[in-house]
Symmetry: C2
Subunit: 344 residues, 2 copies
DNA sequence: CCCGCTGTATGAAACGTTTCAAGCTGACAA
DNA sequence: TTGTCAGCTTGAAACGTTTCATACAGCGGG
């Protein structure tokens, strides 16, 4: 029954006008105590629930923020989504979390959906390497914040992590432990995140005076566990075999670890491993994984806050922010070999 | 600019009435080829995007389905959400995935939000053991499907997995491998899922003629990795020490595994382990985890389909369905000890 | 006694769609 | 010629809010 009760019915029941009912809900201060009570009783009695769509129609924008991630099943994004959700709940906004599965076409379908819904804004990790996503959003006039991806100053808000630094931290750590032959296990080449992590890794290798071929790349199909497993198998077949591997992603690292274990190769004794993201399962693996920590929940929360700032303030005064958080190396067992002497 | 363009502007631009524009969008068959082209050109030119809220207002219901899970960061729910999302996209519906974090108050806040949005339906895993959630939904007249939780016949649709059977499979397997002293690592007692898994485990123990104290319970605070780690530590302190552990959840099992490893206790040689859910990280653990597989994606998809059936057909003819899927034991290394002779 | 003020309540307009009865046109049959 | 019908288009109503100009009542001051 409750579905068909409108503000008009409440007004009739309470013997007041619709305007008054609206005021009871939105500006109780303008209404007499007595009326307040009568109207509230009517609301209660009829089981009235106000209609968001009508509100939105009037207001011109909805109370929903959309979040579009590359992979909902990746704990990094799940954490980020939780962080964003928490911040947005506080602002009394709903969140619509969606999954582009890394596909540009899915992504653009969702973007169209968001536009139709007149969402308050979009938190998005673009699936394409280019900037088509950003252009689409801008042309639709939707406020947006890029998540886990930086944007040139002035082009829009973004919250990301310094992936180059992350790569450097990882490989510097391995070099410090005496490793001189290191594999970089990376995903499909066009993802900026992966590229940056590699760049950082190379920097660290050079900084240590290693030749460029000290760092070899093992290509993975995707950024998930099974792709990591495949890559791990290939890694084991290499000769000379690297003594350490830096993976672009914890999912890959876990896959590699599994491949090593299956082949009877021990970590960290035979091959040291460093992952990226520091998802919960990195610490939980039987050989706890050294990883570059990204503050996933904070990324999500910060992005949400930026979006709120952008959509509240008037567009004229708003200046886009480009927030870059620092990653942090978390050393665990998977790389904890005794530091070996440099020579020999 | 694009935000302010309505169907009226398109009509004016194309020199037709608003009704015709609406037809172009929704019933192109009713419109002359020529008009079609003219109107489409106008739409293109003005960058018109139709307003969902206005549509909804007219239609009385939205094109969004809400999904409320216990923990978005739990891969089981993430998978289920992906499954549901896929099915709903096919029906051209948006999904709003939300996270109750197991809190009844968060849950009821979200339920209120969903009601205001007049969502098409709700896919929910209730946070409370009772049926308050179900009552709320019913009183709001929202179609709903319970996910990973069964409901007495006729009270509503539900898609769940036979958790009692799952528990039986797990413990029967351990008994077959010769284990006579088994720990059940369970979460907070009031979750029906956990209770059922324990019931199944006890059944299997009895069926094998074991005394009731052959199965001892180790209580965990929550159903996550760190709680599993704590429980694992307690498990190791028990005397006599069980030779196997069945965990209510893979997250717990991974935590236990970590605790064992830290203490130098090997799996499966010293303690065999069986988890529940078969999340991706179960297979990916360095000691791949034997687990009771729940078809998470299929649960999500099935629930979505049920919801569609319920909201499409008229309520009169609709009969609630109670779908119970069968779990499946996936044997991996963590329990793969040579079967020992029963005697001794 | 009138004026202007404050505190409340009113009712209509507007938001952008979809739907639907009614109108218009041209063609064909009687 | 008239009537009928099909095909296409129209314009207004309705959906449920919020907002805003207006009205009304009571009251103190001039």
């Amino acid at each position: 029954m409750t579905g068909r009760v409108g503000i008009k019915d409440v007004a009739r029941q309470a013997g007041v006008s619709v305007g008054t009912v609206s005021n009871v809900i939105n500006n109780p201060a303008l209404v007499t105590e007595e009326t307040l009570i009568r109207v509230r009783a009517a609301i209660e009695q009829l089981g009235y629930v106000r209609s968001e769509s009508a509100r939105q129609l009037r207001a011109g924008q909805s109370r929903i923020v959309a979040m579009l991630v590359l992979d909902l099943a990746n704990p990094f994004f799940a954490e980020a989504a939780k962080g964003a959700e928490r911040a947005l709940r506080e602002a009394d906004l709903g969140v619509m979390v969606c999954n582009s599965a890394g596909s540009a076409s899915e992504e653009s379908e969702y973007l169209a959906l968001f536009a139709e819904h007149r969402v308050r804004g979009v938190l998005v990790t673009p699936a394409d390497a280019g900037s088509r996503t950003v252009e689409t959003l801008r042309s639709q006039g939707l406020p947006f914040v890029l998540v886990d991806r930086a944007l040139p100053a002035g082009e829009g808000c973004s919250v990301s992590v310094d992936d180059v630094l992350g790569g450097t931290l990882a490989v510097r750590h391995l070099v410090d432990r005496g490793h001189r032959h290191i594999a970089f296990v990376g995903g499909p080449g066009d993802l900026p995140q992966v590229r940056d992590r590699f760049t950082g890794a190379r920097d660290a290798a050079r900084e240590a005076g290693l030749p460029d071929d000290a760092l070899v790349t093992v290509e993975a199909e995707r950024l998930d566990v099974s792709a990591g497993c495949d890559a791990g198998a290939r890694l084991l077949g290499m000769s000379p075999r690297p003594s350490a591997a830096f993976c672009a992603n914890d999912l890959l690292a876990l896959g590699v670890l599994q491949a090593l274990f299956a082949a009877g190769v021990r970590a960290p004794e035979d091959i040291a491993l460093v992952g990226y993201d520091d998802i919960e399962f990195a610490a939980a693996a039987a050989v706890p994984l050294t990883s570059v920590r990204q503050p996933a929940a904070r990324i999500g929360r910060t992005a949400a806050e930026l979006l709120l700032a952008e959509s509240h303030g008037d567009p004229a005064t708003h200046t886009h922010q480009r927030i870059v958080l620092q990653p942090e190396l978390v050393v665990r067992t998977s790389s904890r070999t005794p530091a070996r002497p440099h020579a020999l």
